[in-house]
């Protein structure tokens, strides 16, 4: 059944979709083979995007979101109940892990 569906979809959709997705795949492969260099240090786009996702999420919570909104409903005002600090504490180990494993 699954093979029949695949065969039908390949006939119907492959000619339309392949010209859309194949150039995207080629572009990503090209990006992958051209690391970003800062001075003599070469950094892969994989590590920039991977670590960047964590860092951007942290910056978004700590710098862009309204402080009142982030902490709305907290039981008492203290640095330990500030969810911006919680975000940093919970994200930092991930940043270090991805930095370590993508060096």
């Amino acid at each position: 059944m699954e093979a029949w569906i695949e065969s039908l979809f390949k006939t119907l959709f492959y000619p339309i979709l392949a010209p859309i997705f194949h150039p995207v795949d080629k572009f990503l492969n090209w990006v992958d083979q051209h690391p970003f260099t800062v001075g003599s240090v070469s950094v892969t786009w994989a590590s920039i995007c991977g670590v960047g996702l964590f860092v951007c999420a942290m910056l978004w919570v700590c710098l862009i979101l309204n402080k009142e909104y982030v902490n709305r409903g907290r039981p008492y005002k203290s640095i330990w109940t500030d969810l911006r600090l919680w975000t940093i504490i919970s994200m930092t180990p991930h940043v270090l892990v991805y930095f370590y494993f993508t060096r």
Partner: protein
């Protein structure tokens, strides 16, 4: 390799004490259940720490211990991406974009939120999708744990294991609802951590430490060179290239899972305050970061300690490590940890399936036939009947549904077939006031159709199993469809949107009050 692990008397005592303790704690929570709100969302009284613990245990099953360790044995640390890249960024987004709206709107389920924001058809379709998916998952996780884990490792009869665990989890979920599920989850996570970190410590000790592990694995040959590389190249033929991991998993599947999956979000809906709901999500992310340490790293250690195991037997990495490394007593604790993972996963899914079934299926059908909302007592009684029916029917159907090859691919494929579109309409529903009910409906239905087309049209992506790419592109497609159809249809009245969209909640206190009044009615 069909040899079973024998248990010492002390191991049996530990497992029995754990099982009896879970049952007693769960049944004790019955005293806190007096209404449907108590049963489905714990009376909105959960503190952040209980939510955090519960989110992690709801997400991690016993089979994760075995399968992730097996994947780490074969593919290295990239197997940990689902618990790192696939969790924390998504949980931060869930905590600050989605959870506040869900919590403030006072809904029981995510489909119910979509129903209020869009229309009843979106709620019903989304509810149906989740009930079917969760039913399959409930059956699959019961059979996998009983057959692939307890039978393979201990030689226990899978039917006995299945009915005993179904019986215990069914009884406390039936009696205590979400409160029982959450508080047994707290105990179960502690047991899981003790067992899991015990295995990790013994594994690393036996190998000779992290540096030695690294050197020995790399020295084993060319196929092990990427074992310490977490993001693999885009043109890899395996299912986890970095582009799929970052965009498909990190930005779509994980966000959809953490924000749109009832099993995860239901805990935050039961939070005693908005701060507890957000804090619980962040705390859960922090706890979840440790999961790969106890499920993936023992798999890496097994590469060195059990080199003859072979890739075809990789899923036996953890059982073999338990046999080789753990003494009596600790072995019982480790199996108690596996039972903890198994029971918490089942009870969480069971309670969430019931909640969606009552709220979004039965509730909608009653409205359509003109009977109005379910009375409180009837909802509670019906919730318990559905819980019992679900656990019995999934236990009976577990083997026919789950006894197939490549079950993990099957599960991931099911999830990838609707998560992109659901995330697209959830996101637009909150951040874009112009999104209309018809835009949401078209985005959901056409988005799911797009998933099927991408999944079953071969040769579009380099990966052999491109579910991560299916999730990403179906999300993009559903976004476009929702925007286009919304712009072509009349905008929603302001009164319907008050308190439901970003701008009206972040900046408008009156809107929040209006929303709370609406909930109170």
């Amino acid at each position: 390799m069909e040899s079973f692990i024998g248990l010492h008397f002390i191991d049996w005592i530990i497992i029995l004490v754990y099982m009896a303790g879970s049952l007693m704690l769960g049944v004790y929570c019955t005293r806190f259940v007096g209404s449907a709100e108590d049963f489905f969302i714990a009376g909105k009284a959960l503190p952040f720490w209980a939510i955090g613990f519960s989110i992690v245990t709801s997400d991690i099953g016993a089979t994760d211990f075995v399968a992730v360790a097996g994947a780490a044995y074969c593919n290295g640390v990239s197997a940990a991406n689902f618990d790192w890249m696939g969790s924390m960024p998504a949980m931060v987004i869930a905590a600050f974009v989605f959870v506040p709206y869900f919590w403030r709107s006072g809904v029981f389920t995510i489909p119910e939120f979509l129903g209020r924001r869009y229309n009843a058809a979106v709620q019903f379709i989304n509810g149906m999708i989740w009930v079917v998916v969760l039913f399959f998952m409930l059956a699959i996780m019961q059979w996998l744990s009983a057959d692939k884990l307890m039978y393979t490792v201990l030689g226990w009869n899978p039917y006995w294991t299945l009915w005993i665990t179904a019986g215990i989890t069914g009884i406390y979920t039936f009696s205590g609802g979400l409160t029982a599920v959450v508080f047994t989850d707290v105990v179960q996570l502690i047991v899981m951590y003790v067992g899991g970190f015990g295995l990790l410590a013994l594994s690393l000790w036996e190998v000779g430490g992290w540096t030695t592990l690294h050197e020995k694995v790399i020295a084993m040959g060319p196929e092990y060179q990427d074992h310490f590389r977490i993001l693999l190249p885009n043109d890899t033929t395996g299912p986890f290239p970095w582009t799929g991991i970052v965009f498909g998993l990190g930005l779509v599947m994980a966000v959809a899972y953490m924000s749109g999956n009832q099993v995860i979000v239901q805990r935050t809906l039961g939070a005693r305050s908005e701060w507890d709901a957000k804090g619980g999500m962040l705390f859960g992310g922090f706890l979840k970061a440790m999961i790969p340490l106890m499920v993936a790293l023992p798999g890496l250690c097994a590469v060195v300690l059990l080199p003859t195991l072979g890739r075809e037997n990789a899923d036996r990495a953890v059982p073999e490590m338990i046999r080789v490394l753990m003494p009596a007593g600790l072995r019982g604790l480790m199996f108690a940890a596996l039972f903890a993972a198994m029971m918490s996963h089942i009870s969480a899914t069971l309670n969430s399936t019931t909640t969606i079934f009552i709220t979004d299926i039965v509730g909608q059908i009653r409205k359509w036939i003109g009977k109005g909302a379910l009375p409180e007592k009837l909802a509670l009684r019906l919730g318990r009947v559905i819980t019992a029916t679900l656990i019995i029917s999934t236990a009976i159907l577990a083997k026919p549904i789950a006894d197939r090859e490549q079950i993990y691919v099957f599960m991931q494929t099911i999830l990838s077939l609707f998560q992109g579109p659901v995330l697209a309409i959830l996101l637009l529903g909150i951040i874009w006031p112009r999104a209309t009910q018809w835009g949401g409906l078209a985005g959901l239905v056409l988005g799911v159709m797009c998933c099927f087309v991408l999944k079953y049209t071969p040769g579009l992506f380099p990966s052999e199993d491109p579910f991560l790419f299916v999730a990403w592109w179906s999300f993009v497609f559903a976004l476009i469809v929702t925007i286009v159809v919304s712009l072509l249809t009349p905008r929603e009245p302001d009164e319907k949107l008050r308190g439901m969209v970003w701008s009206s909640v972040v900046h408008d206190e009156e809107a929040q009050d209006a929303l709370q009044e609406r909930v109170a009615q």
